[in-house]
Amino acid sequence: MAVTEERGAATLDVERIKADFPILERTSHGKRMVYLDSANTSQKPRKVIDTITEYYERHNANLYRAVYELAEEATAMFEAARTRLAGFIGAPDPSSIIFNRGTTESINLVANAWGRKFLREGDEILFTEMEHHSNIVPWQLVAGATGAVVRLVPIEDDGNLDATKVEALMSERTKVLAITGQSNVLGTMPSIKRLAGSAHAVGAVVVVDGAQLVPHNPVDVAALDVDFLTISGHKMLGPTASGGLYGRLELLEAMDPFLGGGEMVMEVFPDHATYKAPPHKFEAGTMNIAEEIGLAAAIEYLEGLGMESVRQHERELTAYGIEALESVGATVFGPKDPELRGGALSFWYKDIHPHDLAQVLDQEGVCVRPGHHCAQILMRRLGVPATTRASFYVYNTREDVDALVAALEKAGTFFGA
């Protein structure tokens, strides 16, 4: 494993990690490629790529329905992936893991399968100003369909979320708290455990957008006591369209199905059907088999590094990155304390529009994301049309931050800012 023991804390051996990622060997515009867009999607280690290749070369078959050896292998691998993902997030029962394409699909699943069945007129859905559109729009849609109302929870000027203000908005009308575990723009990490307790006290369910939380932190759903947690596999070294949803089993059992079709049913009659138990009740049609098996390989890789070590590495890079960006005159949004945030650094640099900035950075081989990051409500709150975002993962180094800063200064010179 690419981990060395140092003063009791495991430090990532990033040079060895980088060697596991074939894409990081390539150049971009003739320069060393500096990939700082992992909050958008992560790169994939050879282990994941090889696992997918081997699956298609040796084990490919559809699940459950065939009796031949090949299909049994594919089914066993797919279910082993479920068990691995359950273990990774501390879910006691693999049946509480629904596989799907990730966070967007997961929140739509909860909003439709739980929301349409249990929400009533006047019920309230709380979400914060820093939510990604995927944790806003599905709730607006279900509110429109049920007569429930959405309420926006404000954030503080420093990008933190004041738990007492969230709690002040809670009442017996509150039925859903939809909240990010780690903001994709600000890096902010709300106190999920405390807020879950408060939400449960008024009878609300807690839906956590784990798209950024799960890839970068040790997560234990049992300890956090959340009802739903979404997982985006492609942001945690896994294939695109991998991941899924953790749901408290009794809720999954009470909910309606989401998509109807083959493999989610027990018996079908002309006017109705009966459904399988979770998780299969929510897995209609041919699944993303290779992707979830690839995700299992990604989890194995992350577990080999140790999620405490991953978090520690990013905490250090975040502290270094904030200081480096501020030293050249960039304004970094979100909490400054790396204990309170993850490694997505959104910033504004010398009034150069983020699209212009990212274009110059691209010429220097530096990959960042300009734009509103699917968080238009947050952009308005910050008073900017867009930001430039650099985000870190296990393969990033201080040299990457230095390359970013050097490219920023070039952009400043180029635009005369």
Binding site: H355, D356, Q363, H372, M379, P385, F415
Partner: protein, 149 residues
């Protein structure tokens, strides 16, 4: 280098010193559009009399491509008849779609924006002002919402 192909001197000049960037309180026609993808927004004003586009101005915020394109646009269509202005919008769109090889005489400084064609994500920045002008000429007025891009 490639960056200079995209950001020609004339583009940077129009970005830093935008022409006709002002409100026009007595404009006969005006329209606002935004590009939610980048947060760019623009309002275009047209002073039109007897089928002639006498003056065009704009206000708004955005990247260097959207701002310089709008600035060049105001100069290129002022003084044209409505039909000539609409033809200019059409041929600019054609250049941005890679379908029209710009004629230096007709395009003037606008030729500088040809380099944007190689950067598909930025094409919508370049055409934002032109879409807004076309909507203003069509009498759409201040539109909520966004350009179709």
């Amino acid at each position: 280098m490639a960056l200079d192909e995209l950001y020609k001197e004339v583009i940077l000049d129009h970005y830093k010193n935008p022409r006709n960037k002002r409100e026009m309180p007595d404009a006969e026609l005006s329209c606002s559009k935004n590009n939610p993808l980048c947060g760019d927004e623009i309002t275009v004003f047209v002073h039109e009399d007897d089928g002639k586009v006498l003056d065009v101005s704009f206000v708004g915020q955005g990247c260097s491509i959207s701002q310089s394109s709008a600035s060049m646009m105001t100069e290129s269509v002022a003084g044209k008849t409505r039909e000539e202005a609409e033809a200019q919008i059409g041929s600019f769109r054609g250049m941005m779609a890679g379908e029209v090889e710009p004629d230096e005489d007709a395009f003037g400084e606008l030729v500088a924006l040809k380099g944007v064609v190689k950067y598909p994500v930025r094409v919508k920045c370049a055409v934002l002002g032109w879409d807004t002008l076309q909507a203003a000429l069509a009498g759409e007025g201040a539109a909520e919402g966004s350009s179709p891009h």
